[in-house]
């Protein structure tokens, strides 16, 4: 361990010298790994956002029951209906959302666009019964509700949920593929640049061996070089992705206010941690591969 702690300054200076002597390839490496990691960062963020949305929407598995006109006009009928709906197995709660509340909810959802509602003379919404149910029981509950007397129709958000799930699943699959592609190409790029560095420093390596330097001492600057290059690429990617995501959030905040996006800070820091750790691991493994492939020659 002393070998490394007391030589830290030397190792960094060596890396600096190696990068300086081969500035073009090294810059190109940082740039290309940066681009690759940027794609990765965006896919990871998309995956994160979609699964967050799915989770939120799932937590709010919503069933709205719309009642027949006749029953609506009759207050006791409505409360009787609510009671019998509550009696269905799997229903946790049921309450009436009256016309005014329905109207106000839409005002909230539409935000700035709420003025369109002024175009209506009367309140266009009808009251309905809102249910909270056990997610596992959703199918039998729906089945019973649709066959109930006095129910006009039942609206549930399973379809939306299903679509969101599909998107999240697709992003997950794409994400895995991208992670694999990013991993492989980073390993190839880094192991290549390390091989190049080693062959540029062949004489120096030979001399160090003749002087009795341990192999780890000789290899360490190369490991460090690979690590610094991918971390550089990672930083580049995270900055770019942070910028892009912030921009997209700003764009989405206006027209799509009701999408439950995860908090920007949480998303960016999570993405940053994932990309940076991945870049560090890939840099380390890539340089190791480069070292091993040279040794085997």
């Amino acid at each position: 361990m002393k070998l490394f702690s007391s030589n830290a300054g030397y190792f960094f200076k060596e890396v600096k010298t190696m990068i300086r002597l081969n500035l073009f390839s090294n810059s190109l490496t940082i740039f290309s790994t940066g681009l690759i990691f940027f794609i990765l960062a965006m896919i990871i963020s998309g995956w994160w956002v979609s699964s967050h949305v799915v989770n939120v929407v799932q937590g709010e598995a919503e069933i709205n029951v719309y009642l027949d006109e006749e029953i609506l006009n009759n207050n006791t009928g409505v409360s009787q209906m609510v009671e019998s709906i509550k009696g269905i197995e799997g229903v946790q709660a049921a309450r009436v959302v009256d016309q005014d509340e329905a109207y106000n909810r839409m005002v909230e959802i539409l935000g700035k666009e709420a003025s369109v509602l002024n175009k209506f003379d009367d309140n266009p919404f009808s009251s309905f019964v809102e249910l909270k149910i056990d997610l596992q029981e959703i199918d039998p509950v729906l089945e019973k509700l649709t066959h109930m007397m006095g129910v006009e129709h039942v609206r549930d958000n399973r379809e939306v949920l299903e679509r969101l799930r599909n998107i999240a699943e697709a992003l997950r699959v794409v994400g895995i593929l991208v992670v694999a592609a990013v991993g492989i190409s980073t390993l190839v790029i880094i192991s290549h640049i390390i091989r190049l560095g080693i062959s540029n420093n062949k004489e120096q390596i030979y001399t160090l061996r003749l002087l009795g330097a341990p192999e780890l001492f000789i290899a360490f600057p190369f490991l460090l070089e690979g690590l610094l290059l991918t971390i550089g690429g990672g930083i580049l990617a995270v900055s770019l992705a942070t910028f892009s995501i912030s921009y997209l959030y700003a764009q989405m905040a206006g027209p799509l206010p009701f999408i439950p996006l995860p908090p920007l800070k949480e998303l960016v820091s999570g993405m940053g941690i994932v990309v940076m750790s991945l870049s560090a691991v890939l840099g380390f493994v890539g340089s190791l591969l480069g070292l091993v492939s040279v040794r085997n020659n």
Partner: protein
């Protein structure tokens, strides 16, 4: 310190660089190896450093058997050797001081000790003022002295110097030989190959080996 019995070195192309030699070097010995070009002087030093292995015979350096299967032990052994290569093998793009220190970075020395050793060694070869020059900007003689400083700064048990005075003027050459001699008092063995036999004549307490076509003869025992 060094024990060679019936050692031969035959290169893959058939050249016999060392031919059946016996040799014993004790701690504190100063040994000059001389002989015409191509007689096997460098090859002998290569055997002692484990750069080449004997094709026949047995060789022991600082208690280590020099066999092909012992590479990691031989790597370790090299930390006790101060080598001066015929072609210097300095590391380009680095300063004189860094080159000297690089030979010690993986030895168990503190940073202060490292700097002090490097500074002392450079002073002894008269190159303090070049400490921060890049090695590629040095003259041949200066490069040679940096190589010597790198070897002695390590305070090795065995110094193997291949033509260390080859590019030096007489004053510098004598200075370097004095520097090497200062080590034999500390029981370091010094083996020097040289063509400069006229300088050796001034030396009393030394052994002289004559190489000829890979064979060895003791010319004078000190």
């Amino acid at each position: 310190m060094i024990k060679a019995k019936g050692v031969s070195l035959r290169f893959p192309n058939g050249t016999i660089a060392i031919n059946n030699i016996d040799l014993q070097v004790e701690p504190g010995d100063m040994v000059y190896v001389t002989g015409p070009s191509g007689s096997g002087k460098t090859s002998l030093l290569k055997l002692f450093m484990g750069i080449e292995y004997p094709t026949i015979g047995s060789l022991e350096v600082l208690g280590q058997q020099m066999d092909k299967g012992q590479t990691s032990r031989i790597r370790q052994l090299r930390t006790s050797i101060g080598p001066v290569f015929q072609e210097f093998k300095l590391i380009k793009g680095r300063t004189v001081a860094e080159n000297v220190m690089l030979g010690m970075r993986f030895l168990d020395l503190s940073q202060d000790q490292l700097k002090e050793n490097a500074h002392d060694a450079l002073a002894k070869v008269g190159l303090e003022h070049k400490a921060s020059s890049l090695v590629e900007n040095l003259s041949w003689g200066e490069s040679q002295r940096v190589a010597i400083a790198r070897a002695v700064a390590r305070k090795p048990l065995l110094i193997l110097a291949d033509e260390p005075t080859g590019n030096l003027d007489k004053d510098n050459a004598i200075n370097i030989l004095e520097l090497f001699k200062s080590f034999i008092d500390q029981k370091t063995s010094v083996i020097i190959t040289t063509h400069a036999t006229h300088l050796i004549d001034a030396e009393k307490h030394c052994k002289l080996i004559q190489m000829n076509k890979g064979s060895l003869s003791w010319e004078r025992l000190g």
